[in-house]
């Protein structure tokens, strides 16, 4: 397990950090995003989408649980916020390891579906505009990403 910590002080910087990960992402990537309400998970995903050459505006998937965007690689954007405390088959695993990049917000609520290797990003709100991103990698291809960041 490799780990790196980044700090951003504006939405633009958060987008840029997400974008650099999106640019490095390959088919079948799984990225887990955790952090409290308002930490910036969706904002960070907007950056990832830019790195995947997705033009569409990425919005919160809380309501529909899942949103799909087409780009250099497809982005499967999941949000497990509403799934706290329940365990059920949602078909998420059909997308994991498939042709696109899977981003899961609130992954801790569906821990049983998380594959063995992934990039995990824990976001904390430091103050009004600054955030800390603790990025850890499990698995070789994800560790390589961390080295490049």
């Amino acid at each position: 397990m490799k780990e790196k910590v980044f700090k951003t002080t504006s939405i633009e910087e958060t987008h840029a950090l997400g974008k650099s990960i999106g640019e490095l992402a390959e088919e079948g990537f799984v990225i887990l995003l955790d952090g409290d309400l308002g930490a910036g998970k969706t904002t960070f995903t907007q950056g990832i989408a830019k790195g995947l050459d997705i033009d569409a505006n990425v919005t919160s998937p809380t309501f529909t649980i899942q949103k799909i965007y087409k780009g250099r690689l497809n982005l499967y954007h999941f949000d497990a916020y509403r799934l706290e405390g329940i365990s059920q088959d949602l078909g998420f695993e059909e997308y994991i390891g498939d042709d696109g990049v899977v981003v899961i917000e609130w992954s801790k609520f569906i821990s049983e579906l998380i594959p063995e290797e992934y990039l995990s990003i824990s976001i904390s709100l430091l103050d009004e505009d600054s955030r800390e991103f603790k990025i850890s990698a499990k698995g070789k291809k994800y560790e390589e990403i961390i080295d490049k960041l």
Partner: protein, 333 residues
Amino acid sequence: MTIILAIESSCDETACAIVRDGKEILSNVVSSQINIHTKFGGVVPEVASRIHVENISTVISEALEKANVTIDEIDAIAYTLGPGLVGSLHVGISAAKTIAWMYDKPLIPIHHITGHIYANAFVAELEYPLLALVISGGHTELVYMKEEYDFEIIGSTRDDAIGEAYDKVARVLDLGYPGGPKIDALSKEGEASYKLPKPKVDGIYDFSFSGLKTAIIQAINREERNGNEVNIANMACSFQETALNILVDKSLKAVEEYNPKMFVIAGGVAANSRLREIMEDKFKDRDDIKLIIPPLYCCTDNAAMIAASGYIAYKHGKRGSFDDGANPSLNMD
């Protein structure tokens, strides 16, 4: 005379309605799952689709019975194709296709949000050009309709939908689910004493509510750090005033540019009492434009509105096919 049977199951309501000529509701049956989801703090998709399966047949036969029409008298079957939860949508779509197949009726696929807009047809003759503010748990959109059944989204949320912001802020304030009615009610007991920033967005008609949610969390943390007790009613009121003013400001700006004959509010958040109050005040001196706010029974999800939109779509020759699958992120335009 055209009689439409409509089915709606995009979220947590299983609904069937029968409507004559897009205006006269013969029956409007809604089975809500809200009590089941309350304990989870939101809609649970898999639970939702299972309950839809259990309810759908009963809801349809009840709608036919209440309307006192036979299936032979139905001209077409309208159904919500999207957007919504995929499993939930499937249940309604399968039911619609089954009826259409058995009784050889045309299918009319409907975008859920056009239903919310056409819910206003039950209370007013819609006039075009028209602007609609569509606000719900999953949507925050300004829609321009140059003419009948022509939809152009001129602005939308860049992050959270307004109803979602209400739900999440209610959760932070420990008020329970659904957040909209709770915050609306509590706001009446408080005042907007907390200063919250208005989010900046690029598109002039676009919205952003994610930053407002974060600002509330930070304001609460700040108060706690300073050893002050958070006044929950004042915080709810501050959030509501800021959020609603964003909606109102953008709406009025769009009215200036597009000069519609009519402005309609649609979706679940249209039930908000404070929003009704502000909008009525802003439009009271405007003789050139009619403000329509749907009656409460039309604001939440129901199938009568799908029938209303379905009637217009039917007139315009829009037909669905047995190959159509649920589209959770269906586009309106």
